[in-house]
């Protein structure tokens, strides 16, 4: 038996799914958390249950809503559990009226029963069942009440008692059309639903449309002063209002905590400063405070562990090669990455808090106007913030954006946000080169990323993505106290995923790097590091990084390229390489005295961080971008754009930074550079405008992109 879980966004669907299956799917307090459908088995049964993305109606506006609708029609679930947010029953029942038109059994799960009383709402369950003509179960997904009853209802085969929803004429027309549909195909499913869609003239169902139906609909349309789309929606809501009057009793309770909080968080003057402070704190806490306190401790533990392993291996008589593989390869590589787990815990915790409290929806609202000016939507901010944990779910989250151009632009800009895997790079460089200012420097990178996103989006929306929209329609959820259990699980899952990656991908890469470093092309072991395979490979392409680092540094070159596998691999690779060039027993300091990286300066460190931040993301994120962009050609363009931009930004950063370091940067130089940039800007702007002038007289200017 197949069960589909259908409901509005933010109605507690995912919580119920976890509760029914015992799995831990992602839960958040912003519309659109379920980005792809999830499947599980209901506890104690063999029923398959699918958690579909939240929808408000069966007419889709965004990709994720399309997924939900497609599933219901193509996969033919046996039962639909329609989760209804009891605190917003009127809007929630709108979807229910549509689901009840399908030929599938529907069970209404009236969720959030636990907070109804607090809100002064009383719902007569039995009466509601009678009015809707289908089974209703009161549950609380969060408190896990009413769940067993819900499961037992799935088993029962109660048939639907259909109630008329529209006025007499429309109901009559519907049954006539149903008759026509059945006479042409006796096995047709969902005929009532189809009939309504045909009356609305929804072009997605054109293949069922006939002249006869069109004629009948046309005749009835004369009775109303607007189109059927509006009439049907209005009559559905009229029906719901009547049902509500009969079944729901409101005793308004004064609960304006959300309004009070919004007076602060959405205040005209302080909303932006608060947002900036919150985002700054996220980075400052994780990299600055936590980072500086744990980095030495963790590296000391790692040092003594690696010494202990080395000694143990020697004492049991392993050869020098194996000893080096374990100590210089595996432990140095994997250990370098694992050292950043404390910072990651804080970062993941902060993101989880932003998501579950409802502040995330406020950020979208706060920045919509700003983002709209640069061709993005306020909703783009959600992928960006999720992307500061990991780009992959961030990129997938772009599906909540309705407009195609805005969605693609967000997809290509999301990897610019420093993700948790880039955090080790940032923490390593800023911790060593900027010491007590490390928190400040890492936060500066975050804001630098935002600035670059804004500038890129502005330019892209003027040159490439011109069909951005002006529409913003989104529910504003109330603030909620975060559920500690779920937050702990969420952080735990993400940290475990990071550690697993260190134990698999990073481990294998470290072994490969160790091999390429230990052997020359003649497979001679223990050669001087300069003669190793890796050095030869790196030297042949290190000129690419010359303008960024001010030298031909093969070690940094090969490390940056490995960022494609996983960004934290950059750090891991640097640790392995430096371990080789160091005098034995001097500890695992990457930038220590005699390593290839000791020539790094603050300027080249900052430039190198910038390159790694903006260049092509890891393969995982590239794959996610391919899924969202849908074509290899687009993907290639995007990856090239990202990498080229990264190179340019890093070059500019180093060239300016190193001159500041040497004290050779003069005010006049800066003025000349600004003047040149200004001229380029004017030329570009003019050429864009010229194109527009030419288009005015063109007959195709409206339809042309």
């Amino acid at each position: 038996m197949k069960v589909a879980l259908v409901g509005n966004q933010n109605s507690g669907k995912t919580t119920l799914f976890n509760c029914l299956t015992g799995m831990n799917a992602k839960i958040g307090n912003w519309p659109g958390v379920t980005i792809e459908r999830k499947t599980g088995t209901i506890k104690g049964t063999n029923y398959e249950i699918v958690d579909l993305p939240g929808i408000y109606s069966l007419s889709p506006y965004s990709t994720e809503e399309e997924i939900a609708r497609e599933y219901i029609f193509k996969e033919k679930p046996d039962v639909i559990i329609n989760i209804v947010d009891a605190t917003a029953i009127e809007r929630s029942l709108y979807l229910t009226t549509q689901l009840l038109e399908l030929d599938t059994k529907v069970i209404v799960a009236l969720n959030m029963a636990d907070i109804l009383e607090k809100k002064g709402i009383k719902i007569d369950e039995k009466n509601l069942e009678e009015e809707l003509g289908t089974k209703v179960c009161k549950i609380s997904a969060l408190r896990e009440t009413g769940i067993n009853k819900l499961i037992s209802e799935i088993k029962k085969g109660d048939k639907l008692k259909r109630k008329p929803i529209y006025d007499v004429e429309i109901e009559y027309l519907i049954s006539t059309i149903q008759g026509i549909l059945h006479s042409s195909d006796s096995k047709i499913r969902h005929s009532r639903f189809l009939s309504v869609k045909l009356i609305e003239e929804d072009e997605r169902f054109d293949k069922y449309q006939t002249q006869e139906i069109k004629h009948m609909t046309g005749l009835l349309a004369k009775k109303y002063d607007t189109d059927f789309e509006e009439i049907i929606a209005t009559q559905r809501y009229n029906f719901i209002e009547k049902v509500r009057e009969k079944t729901v009793i409101y005793k308004p309770v004064k609960d304006d905590l959300s309004d009070k909080l919004d007076k602060i968080f959405l205040n005209k003057w302080i909303a932006f400063p608060i947002f900036v402070v919150i985002m700054f704190l996220v980075y400052y806490l994780s990299v600055g405070i936590i980072g500086s306190n744990t980095v030495d401790m963790v590296s000391n533990i790692m040092d003594s562990f690696s010494e202990w392993v080395g000694n143990t291996l020697q004492s049991i008589g392993t050869s020098e090669v194996i000893n080096s593989l374990v100590v210089d390869g595996i432990i140095a590589g994997v250990g370098a990455v694992l050292g950043f787990v404390p910072q990651l815990i804080i970062l993941f915790l902060c993101i989880a808090l932003l998501e579950t409290t409802g502040y995330m929806s406020r950020i979208a609202l706060l920045l919509d106007r700003v983002f709209r000016k640069i061709g993005l939507s306020g909703k783009s901010l959600i992928p960006f913030i999720v992307g500061s944990g990991c780009s992959v779910p961030g990129i997938m989250g772009t599906r909540i954006i309705e407009n195609l151009d805005e969605r693609e632009m967000t997809t290509m800009l999301t990897p610019f946000i420093p993700c948790s895997a880039k955090l080790p790079i940032i923490a390593l460089f800023s911790g060593y080169f900027f010491k007590e200012n490390s928190g400040l420097v890492s936060a500066s990178l975050y804001f630098f990323a935002i600035a670059i996103i804004i500038i890129s989006a502005y330019i892209l929306s003027k040159l490439v993505f011109k069909n951005t929209s002006n529409t913003y329609i989104s529910e504003l959820p109330e603030y909620k106290l975060p559920n500690i259990k779920y937050i702990a699980k969420e952080v735990w899952d993400k940290v475990i995923a990071f550690i697993k990656r260190a134990g698999s991908v990073i481990l294998i890469c470290s072994i490969v790097i160790w091999f390429l470093l230990s052997f020359s092309f003649n497979f001679e072991y223990g050669v001087d590091i300069q003669d190793s395979m890796l050095a030869s490979i790196g030297k042949s392409i290190s000129w690419v990084f010359y303008p960024i680092l001010g030298e031909n540094n093969w070690g940094a070159t090969v490390s940056a390229i490995q960022g494609l596998v996983a960004k934290e691999q950059v750090v891991s690779s640097m640790a392995v390489i430096s371990g080789f060039s160091e005098e034995v027993g001097e500890g695992s300091q990457i930038f220590g005295n005699n390593t290839i990286f000791s020539s790094f300066t603050a300027a080249s460190a900052y430039a190198f961080m910038i390159f790694n931040l903006f260049s092509a993301p890891c393969f995982g994120a590239i794959g996610a971008m391919k899924r969202e962009l849908g074509s290899n050609k687009k993907l290639l363009k995007v990856v090239c754009f990202q990498t080229f931009l990264a190179w340019c930004l890093a070059t500019v950063t180093y060239q300016i930074g190193s001159r500041i370091e040497n004290g050779t940067l003069h005010l006049a130089d800066i003025l000349v550079i600004i003047a040149i940039l200004l001229i380029i800007y004017l030329i570009v702007k003019n050429s864009i405008n010229k194109k527009k002038d030419k288009c005015i007289n063109c007959p195709y200017s409206d339809s042309c992109k």
């Binding site: 029953i89 709108y94 789309e229 309004d259 700003v370 709209r372 002006n470 529409t471 913003y472 329609i473």
Partner: protein
């Protein structure tokens, strides 16, 4: 009166949706913005756009450009 012109705390009844883009119009209808529904302006985003309105027992944020195409009759 246009819905976008209302101040925070004002209530109004929806009279007509003058929205041409089919998808947007459909979306707003589905969210409950049908004729005769009573809406209340709850909050306005710091930059004056979008605007958060209360209707049918929940809150919905809508961009100003679309709100200006919704004809309403002020009640309070």
């Amino acid at each position: 009166m246009k819905l976008s012109k209302l101040k925070v705390g004002q209530e109004a009844k929806v009279i007509k949706l003058n929205i041409k883009e089919k998808e947007t119009r459909r979306h707003l209808l589905d969210m409950g913005l049908t004729r005769g529904v009573v809406v209340k302006i709850k909050k306005i985003a710091p930059m004056g756009d979008p605007i958060d309105i209360e209707l049918r027992g929940y809150e919905l944020c809508i961009g100003k450009s679309d709100l200006s195409k919704i004809e309403v009759e002020v009640i309070k």
